[in-house]
Symmetry: C2
């Protein structure tokens, strides 16, 4: 039996689901691959708990109450090989822990976009571990095969002419309902009520989440680019950043008529609006776009993501991937698939 | 530099393109992964050539003239580790060579469906090497991420309720053109002229190629099933099997009216016809199906493949992959991606 120590950062929705899914697959991984994941450390924003022999179910269940103020850095420095650091946080402070992990021979699996979307210089530090020590499929489109597909294009000498798609389930939900006749403010309200938006919907409406995903794809294509270089269209003016959430939700009613008119106008020519990211060799843009109602992007319903790859070999007919690109259960599934990828690497041959 | 010996069976369209693509990626694999593929043996239906130091460009270019009657079994028994056997044939005789490869510590990458679609007993022999020693993404949908997506579902404890899709570019082309008003016999003729069919179009129209792909997916889901167990609808009656190809092409005109009527009838209720494979826990069927014109399958244009996965976690909104699922260039790309996967396994850690 091969034992792999797991240190886990970020015990939120995705993190909790990940722990549940580990429990479910554990027997079959032992049987099929001879791999045993020793879940031995968990860390939230207020500290963590570690037990080299594996955390008891009780300690896991009662976290963060069971947190004992252990320092994650000390754990990473002392932990026995082989080990994997899992990052299911949304923190911009974990890059340092990744580097510490690599320097101690460990692996990283992460659904956290932040370490890839800060300065180009920081990205460069990580890049040399890609395909070897760090796995991050879930940073774009959750478990949809996006990063792996892109890497296959690059590694097999294909040449990517365009990546285009809708990478926000939240904005997908809103634009789909605009098309169905809902007012903008209602669509945002409903998305918020159903848990599709961040607690402050401005985090979605600013387009920054989509811009970060576009940035990752652009950098994987070899572009040297910063988040500020991406032309990002916000769905509200900057001067609304100071409002309370309630006030913001009230104020956006003033955009209702504008969206209604736009949707009507483009609808008359069998087109609709989508919030689209587009990455080519020469440009990277994120914003509202008029698309064919019956095209791939226009056909998108509800919170699905879609990614359309055009390459030298997928030229007339692109390669298209579509499906839920967010949510705890599919994101955790993708993280777990990356853990298995890392585990196979660790133990193969 | 890590050297991997490559023994290659099947120097047809895909095989030749694979050799070309290896040449293109070779410098970047050396730089990025420190991997050097030593292309040292190539084998066609009439024998092969081998040089432990790597085949010269001249020997590769002038194959099969340069074939020197070497026996592939002897090569596999004597070759130095590490090595990968590549199977881009359509032969039903390579399973034995796979087993020989495994017993000598080698890896297999194959685009050939046959070793997976013979008896369940033979499949069982291969199964223990899945995810470890044998890579076969291109057996269904060429380089589209189908097998890897399916494996991720299984490995992460998701439960697949249905895989549905169109797995034949040829039949996709024909049904798309029927919908556009072309006669059945014309559509088949045009598909044949443009190289979308096998030399004898009955190989496509029988549905056997699709049935084989469905069989692979069903077996990966854990079904114990033989090709005869799949309800497969042929597009021509069995008594036309004895005709010459020319006579066959002439005779199918008699189906023109029938298809015209069917397409009209379903068209009136916004539906169309597709040649669909469907795999669930309790059934596996392959045949013509009436589908929504604006649904995923009905929207399929020309020779594209589509695969729709419904699982416990991808329930309301399935995971969908679409794109060219055949052709030398994308198939070779997929084979090469699998070679890199094997190569990383060989050299990691």
């Amino acid at each position: 039996m091969h034992k792999i120590n797991i240190i886990h950062l970020g015990i939120g929705n995705v993190g909790k689901e990940f722990i549940k899914e580990i429990g479910e697959v554990s027997p079959s991984w032992k049987r099929k691959y001879g791999i045993f994941l020793n879940y031995c450390g968990m860390f939230g924003s207020k500290g963590g708990v570690f037990d080299a022999e594996g955390l008891s179910e009780k300690k896991i269940k009662n976290f963060p109450k069971t947190s004992s103020g252990v320092d994650v850095k000390e754990v990473l420095e002392a932990i026995a090989d082989p080990f994997i650091l899992i990052d299911t946080t949304a923190s911009d402070k974990t890059l340092e822990l990744f580097m510490l992990t690599f320097s101690h021979g460990g692996y990283v699996v992460t659904s956290n976009k932040k370490p890839f979307t800060q300065s180009q210089e920081q990205f460069d530090q990580l890049e040399k571990y890609f395909g070897k020590k760090i796995f991050f499929e879930t940073t774009v489109g959750a478990a949809l095969p996006v990063i792996s597909t892109l890497n296959n294009f690059i590694d097999t000498g294909d040449s990517i002419s365009e990546i285009k798609g809708c990478f926000s389930g939240t904005l997908g939900y809103i634009f789909f309902h605009l098309e169905e006749g809902m007012l903008f403010s209602q669509a945002v309200k409903q998305a918020k009520e159903r848990g599709f938006t961040e607690p402050d919907p401005r985090d979605d409406l600013s387009g920054m989440d989509v811009a970060r995903k576009a940035l990752i794809l652009a950098r994987l294509l070899g572009k040297r680019i910063e988040i500020e270089d991406i032309k990002t269209e916000s769905l509200y003016p900057q001067n609304m950043d100071g409002l309370t959430v309630d006030k913001f939700m009230e104020t956006i009613r003033r955009f209702d008529n504008e969206y209604k008119k736009k949707i009507c106008k483009v609808g008359a020519r069998s087109r609709t609006l989508r919030y689209v990211a587009s990455v080519t060799a020469s440009s990277c843009t994120v914003g509202v776009e008029e698309v064919e109602k019956n095209g791939d992007l226009g056909n998108l319903k509800g919170p699905d993501n879609i990614i359309v790859f055009k390459t030298k070999r997928y030229d007339k007919n692109p390669l298209v991937v579509r499906g839920p690109g967010a949510g705890a259960s599919v994101t955790a599934e993708g993280v777990l698939a990356d853990v298995l990828e890392a585990a196979k690497f660790i133990y193969h041959s």
